[in-house]
Symmetry: C2
Amino acid sequence: MVINVTRTLFVCVVLGQSMVAAELMPLPLKMTPGEGKLRIESTFGAAITGYSDARLVSAAARFVRQIAKQTGIPIAPGNFDKTLTIDCHEAGPAVPDLGEDESYRLDVTEGHASLQSASVTGALRGLATLVQLIGTSTEVPGIHIEDRPRFSWRGLMLDVSRHWMPVEVVERNLDAMAAVKLNVFHWHLSDDQGFRVESKRFPKLQRLSSDGNYYTQDEIRHVIDYARDRGIRVIPEFDVPGHATSLLAAYPELGSAPGPYSIERRWGIFKPTLDPTREETYAFLDAFFEEMAALFPDRFFHIGGDEVDDTQWKNSRAIQKFAQEHHLADSRALHGYFNGRVQALLKKYGKSIIGWDEIFGPDLGRDAVIQSWRGGASLAEAANKGYRGVLSFGYYLDHLKPASEHYRADPLGIAPNETARILGGEACMWSEYVSQDTVDSRIWPRAAAIAERLWSPREVTDIDSMYRRLESVSSLLDWTGVEHRSNYQRMLDRLGGGESLRILADASEASGIEVRQKARQYTSLVPLNRFVDAVRPESQGVRRLEQEARRLTANHGGESSELSVAFTVWARNDARLRPPAELAALSKNLSTVGSTGLLALNYLRTGQAPPDGWIAEQIRALDGMQKPDAEVILAAPRPLRLLLNALAENSKK
Amino acid sequence: MVINVTRTLFVCVVLGQSMVAAELMPLPLKMTPGEGKLRIESTFGAAITGYSDARLVSAAARFVRQIAKQTGIPIAPGNFDKTLTIDCHEAGPAVPDLGEDESYRLDVTEGHASLQSASVTGALRGLATLVQLIGTSTEVPGIHIEDRPRFSWRGLMLDVSRHWMPVEVVERNLDAMAAVKLNVFHWHLSDDQGFRVESKRFPKLQRLSSDGNYYTQDEIRHVIDYARDRGIRVIPEFDVPGHATSLLAAYPELGSAPGPYSIERRWGIFKPTLDPTREETYAFLDAFFEEMAALFPDRFFHIGGDEVDDTQWKNSRAIQKFAQEHHLADSRALHGYFNGRVQALLKKYGKSIIGWDEIFGPDLGRDAVIQSWRGGASLAEAANKGYRGVLSFGYYLDHLKPASEHYRADPLGIAPNETARILGGEACMWSEYVSQDTVDSRIWPRAAAIAERLWSPREVTDIDSMYRRLESVSSLLDWTGVEHRSNYQRMLDRLGGGESLRILADASEASGIEVRQKARQYTSLVPLNRFVDAVRPESQGVRRLEQEARRLTANHGGESSELSVAFTVWARNDARLRPPAELAALSKNLSTVGSTGLLALNYLRTGQAPPDGWIAEQIRALDGMQKPDAEVILAAPRPLRLLLNALAENSKK
């Protein structure tokens, strides 16, 4: 019997305390409950019984450390108990590779776990599953799992140009990626606002274009090794010919207009663009790509290619003349010519290119991969024409949309038959509105929902199940080192305000780029240390209260201690907080929701009807409260709205 | 004018939000308010204008990174602005040394900060002060500070034997130590439960006596460098001749009774003891000390020497014969003989010994330092006889006493005239009841109060001021990387229970070793992952409520939103939590406190008298609740008790 994978919950009781085992995300292809159970004790040991190498040995040691951390059980690294046996058939590719075998089988039986895989990467995936099965509990019920990914390209893009992300940020996010089986780290290393890689050949890049914030080549090799150990490919992106202001700040002679250029501090699309008509440009790129191709082992190399502003091209007589001579009808054709040259350069160094939507054109070589960000249609079109593609439209984490929206986006949504060419998807974390302190909470836990979309069977779509498991995984990710949870209180403490500021923050949701870019003039020098930067994209607490409101109204009344405590605390919070000016309205609204909520609960409990017009008036008030304020949206009205709707229903009867 | 140093609070408003500047801990010797203010902006730069070396350059870079982190202001490392000038006279000792000059002067004026010091270590101390002055705010008001420590030995001892502490735990605690100007890291590296150092000469030590949990020599060198960069001495302790079971597990032939021995898993004082009568013992120690003396550069070397159980000595005919021949009247004399031999060995390698109380005896060479743990009297006695001493009695963090108790213990408390010989003090973190996950919250923030006792003028004794500043420093320490705050929610999440478990934890205080050792049979294999391990030693929230209760009763009634929200939430918490069996009584008691609290508030507000006997009955109930339960003590009754006392007073009038 294959159990309903979306409804599994393990609870066990240890030392008189209930410890909740984490649920799985992404869900495996197949899970069958088994006999017996595995107890995690201080004698736990992992033994490699088949193929072995340094990568597998360190993965097994990391696994033991991780479960010791999560469970709190002191497990010595020198243990010889074969509690877990790892039977791996062969190494697999030396560097994680597109389409490699990631499958595994995992059996938990009485006192034992057994993991089998074709490759080391498969073993890594199985260990990630076992880490989640164990969670923070000390017992794992028997289970049989067979698993492999639906898509072979499951990525996370991180923009380290707009806001600098030190190596430790990358490391901890690689750990979290591995925990949810993401396998491509797409490293957006250059943009208008900074060039983040040390070049030995072109040292002006780091000297003049990075503000001192760049990765040395040693650090890059370290990150690649770190990722490889976790079965993650590293794909560098150097964005050309647009989004290249920082490059031109170091080498203005490569621009389509005379310099000088300086590092861009604003956000947007800017005019500085490489000159696609001069051989010097290609000579530079040739030498630079050669250096970078040797540094990054992956066979794909990302050339960006998005949002090319053609003003400089149009204004340059030389460029226009060149275009005419080469029968390049318009800027798009010129861009296509540029891409063709770049593609040829990289081919010399054994690389296939990947680029954003805009690189797609008639002259593009067939081995290119299109990363679709402007819509699913372009992905479908590329696939129809024989190109491989990766979906990012729908996976833009910087919009701070609910996880459920990302979860609904499917790479095969528009082109269901192109399974061979649509390789998967990539969550994108653009960094206009995140810093190294806030980025984790903008990636996690929502990226885990995307990870499930890309790994698990297409039929896994239950939103409630997803959210329940997301909460569990979020709490587990905390033990991998990402700071999406630990940074929250720290950032609120910075603002003063104590417990009552936290209560306001818990009931609020941060807005994404769409709201923030209109709210004020941001640049890379504006600190991201305000309330909106601390507040999470989704309020877990309010989601629970919504569930509670649904339960209550489905039962036609009764008591809800959860709702009544929350409303009481909210009602009094404004008086306790004495909020700063920016948060005055938000805080007042929260207390209004609380007071109204207490009244609504009372009407529901007593069955007494509210005065005429009261419900409509409250709903209108809520409408006003659910607009962005201080770049934040109050989530608190949502459960109250459910109660008011129920009261309205009741009054119709 | 010298301002009252215990009453300084800076508040500033940034971006419409109040950001509270951290207050100083330890308080400096002298502080005078000045003109103007310094704004922290993204152009901030630190320039070294006097003596410079690698240690100072890295300290300046670390300083800039730290304030960028705390404030959230993006400051590029390549900035050339001379916002801060550091004028250091000379290097000072190559390795941080006892009694080195740590003084500095710091001036904050309009748009500028200027730091002057005699040595690099002095500059480090000044930078630590400036980090706190800035706190999380973006403006520092003008100030002039002159500062130097009261004691030159300000230590933290960490026991890494009973529970293993990986390098990252040590690193982050060194960062926190430096932040509060502690300058001695006393590394308790061996004990019955594990030998934690790699020895090239005696590899069985790590192979047989560590369970695989030990520091390689490379790691030790790294930690020493890391500490040196932060102006912290590293003193290794190898505990001999007692507390040596793990050593004997590797080299049983050195024992006072025939082996075999195995690593001890229990806590306590055990019989295995080195044989002080055989030359083989000293040959081993000579070779081992030679190796370790070369590894650890500090001129002090800790030989432990505490709690020697002499059963094996008394039972050995050979040892007794030796004692007789050498006129060693009793075990104490035998121990003294051993210490003399050990002291001579270490002298060969340029080391002075330091040891616990018990090493003090007639034959001890005068350069030995006595670390007093059994009482201040032994410290005074040693000082009287011309020995130097360090106080640890009163600074045992593992007792989980309130910070105020440690704060009241003064190294010169018993021997006020021995200023030359009493070098300072050391906070001790024994690790029977802490793991790598919980240790930070048992050290911090309380160790900061001890740091102030050891650095600041003796007259700085205001407990309220200390607690207010401790709270501020605790929140700032969060940004150095110690996990005393971030681990709290993570550990509670592990237990399930959500928000209501946190409410119970917030209102509770964990018990220390004295309660825990009686509560159940602990060993090194018993997980420290229960409620008591998450709960903090002191409840900041309850302390605030006590203040609020004092304010309210001093005003003879009125409203208190804080108290009324807290009591309401507590009153309903038990129903929400549905606690596990272990916490059932605790949770029920919390709700009782809440309900009673609401009644008490009502009596106070209305002036209505409670029924006869009600107050006495409630106070009796509270007495019962304030006993350890589940190794935890409910703190919640404390503010209620104040209200009840006030009602009792009122009823007398």
